[in-house]
């Protein structure tokens, strides 16, 4: 089971590396959204500080939505998804591997990029570790919850609006706590509270989402 998990993970990463150009779009979107705010607001550091955490998190969520659209679509169309569903290893585990790969190739770059944005938003340098931590704790939940929605809409042609509607209610708590934690980090306060909460949501999603995703994939394949 573990080896199947690692195998799927490796294959996903290989494919992602070979199609890395597809990964650029969400990342660029994230960068565009995040750099325009500081440019527009100008010198009003206080205002920038206030909107910074929220803007970064909303941008991260939207970038995730952009990339989620194709999480299962390609596999659905080329039939590899149905091969996974016919394997003796549990489907949920292998889909979890896919989701983790998604996190590694789309969310992790956002996290890595975020320190630069902290500076662009004029937040203090001390806020960097805090922001990175909240993103690290919260983005897995985005990927995992997103995988459920992506699996439900894998077989649909024009699903992007629907996907957004399905995912927004489920991801809003992550967004709220994430932005709040980032905000706390920016003002130099303890972020432990929201961080625990984000971690809790992520762990819960890690535990339950793969099963839901597997069920949704089986439905989509039917």
């Amino acid at each position: 089971m573990i080896s199947a998990f690692l195998l799927v993970l490796r294959r996903e990463l290989t494919v992602a590396v070979r199609r890395w150009s597809d990964l650029v779009m969400p990342l660029m979107f994230f960068i565009i959204v995040c750099t325009l705010f500081p440019l527009a607001v100008g010198q009003d550091i206080e205002m920038l500080n206030n909107i910074g955490p929220g803007a970064i998190w909303v941008a991260a969520l939207l970038a995730t939505l952009l990339s989620l659209n194709s999480l299962f679509r390609d596999d659905f169309e080329d039939g590899t998804l149905e091969q996974l569903a016919l394997d003796k290893e549990p489907l949920s585990f292998m889909l979890l591997a896919k989701t983790i790969a998604h996190w590694l190739v789309t969310e992790l770059p956002l996290v890595v990029l975020s320190p630069v944005l902290v500076l662009a938003f004029g937040m203090p340098v001390d806020a960097i570790p805090g922001l990175v931590l909240t993103l690290l704790a919260g983005t897995p939940a985005l990927s995992l919850i997103g995988s459920v929605g992506a699996a439900l809409t894998a077989g649909l042609r024009q699903a992007s609006g629907l996907l957004a509607l399905l995912l927004l209610p489920l991801t809003v708590p992550v967004l709220i706590f994430g932005a709040r934690a980032a905000d706390l980090a920016a003002s130099g306060q303890s972020i432990a509270g929201p961080l625990y909460l984000l971690g809790g949501i992520s762990v819960l999603a890690l535990t339950l989402a793969p099963f839901a995703t597997a069920a949704a994939v089986r439905v989509s394949l039917d």
Binding site: V24, M28, I32, L36, Q43, S160, L165
Partner: protein, 650 residues
Amino acid sequence: MIPEFGHIALVIALCIAVLQSVLPLAGAQQGNVAWIATTRPLAHAQFFFLVISFGCLIVAFLQNDFSVKYVAMNSNTALPTMFKVAAVWGAHEGSLLLWSVTLGLWTSAVAAFSKTLPNAVVARVLAVMGMIAVGFMLFILLTSNPFDRLFPAPLNGGDLNPLLQDPALIIHPPMLYMGYVGFSVAFGFAIAAMLAGNLDQQWARWTRPWTTTAWLFLTMGIALGSWWAYYELGWGGWWFWDPVENAAFMPWLVGTGLMHSLAVTEKRGLFKSWTLLMAIAAFSLSLLGTFIVRSGVLVSVHAFASDPARGLFILIFLGIVIGASLTLYAYRASSLETRVGFAPFSRETFILLNSILLVIAAGVVLLGTLGPLVFGAFDLGSVSVGPQYFELVFLFPMLPLVLAVGVGMHTAWRSANPRELFRRLKWPALGALVAGVLIPWLVFGSVSLLTAVGVTIGLWTVIASLIDPAKKVVGKGPRITRGMVAMQLAHLGLGLTVLGITVTSAYTVVTDESMRPGDTREIGGYTFRFDETLPITGPNYEGIQGVFTVSRNDTELTQLKPEKRVYRVQTNPMTEAGIQGGLGRDLFIALGEQLGRGAWSVRIQYKPLIRFIWLGCIVMVIGGLVAISDPRYRQRVTAKAAADGATATA
């Protein structure tokens, strides 16, 4: 002889432009009044010679002078006169000349209508525009001269691309160029202000009407382009997200943001650096757009590489203009901000949000347009950027944007009271929501998520634009200034366009049918009867016309006559759709190919509310017209206003 004449006129115009870009600027920097005084005459002279040059090219076309290579490639004796004129800007060289002429026109207009401005300011602005003119004319003369001769001269020419043989296209590029080039005025003002190191509210006041004028030309140009695509491309689409359309759309988005941001800078002295950046960006995107559209340089990689001289020139030109202005911006921007506070809930915030969202939208469109090119150039494999990408990514900024428009226009400057706002807007908002769900459902029988959202925000914008006028009619509304009317009209237009787009995308009925004369089909409640086919002969084409009778409830409504044309010289088959338009819906028939035994493949479409898309644009343009007709902008700067400006910046 005439072409040579035009060539020489162009060279003279170039020389004048060089003078225009040097003398006034030097004069303004050093305070030399005599040099400054040359500004206006030089501007008019440059325009004059450009007009002569352009006129010569038109004459060459009208006289069928096929010894001119450009004429030979793009015209034909059989071409109707109207299209001969249009053919002047139908391809790369001529369109660049048109661009220069348009720039000359704007330059001349600034010179003529800037009597109220300080001379030094005008000198700087026109010098900057002169520099751009120098670049363009050099480009034309060095790499794409439309007056080049061809030897031996062919007896007949190549013909204008039949896709371009449409009345809409005669007017479309000039409109678009008026818009593109018009942003050069805002750009000129921005650079001039940064050079002078003085950017006050007066600056925004001077720039605003020019920007609005450019914007409304661009709006018309885009609307016409989309209209043309709908009529001429033959399959009823009206927006394709192709690079050419995006090229016009990106400056429009940023220009719209610029208009709004300028309003804040004028009224409140805020967002100066952001406004500057948008002024630079709007014009930069216009430049980029010009090259994408006409030269084909950025569309496909091999056009770029097939003539590296052209490509290199463009690149250097773009590099100098945009690079220098952005560097200047980076150097100056940080010193421009004023610390005037505004509340988080105020019109300033909404406009800031609006311009950010518009620039984000332009950014993602730019990404989608250039992305494939970049990946192609670096050999990185393919990126899948299709309409799907644009539709999804474009929605992210646009949904909140349109939603915020209705609220924003009722929000007060400086600080608004949300409670008061809620009291005023709750019923309109609720009404829009209920209607947005119910109307599609009742009228069309089904409603999907995006339709409900789209109709709701469309209606919401329409209603929000009409609240104040409606109250005024009842007799208890606030005083409505001309500026407010302009704003309400423009936003009303936006709402109508959103409505049109949503309903058309959701409820269009399209069927491809195989029909023989005598067959009938029922689509969208209308009965289409295929009566007969007739041969037709046009001035430079031949073809077949299908005759369809449309009836509803056994009442004959109209006859539609779609055509299939073959143009004699270029031998392209062209589809001319038969369209019966109405405010509520369009009926659209296009003839496909012959299937044998008298049968034709026929595409029949029922497109509800499609006219709203362009109706909305027209209303927006009217709004723009009202805005620039505001007499405020033509008043001499009074001592008091100047003093106000000074205190606001202090």
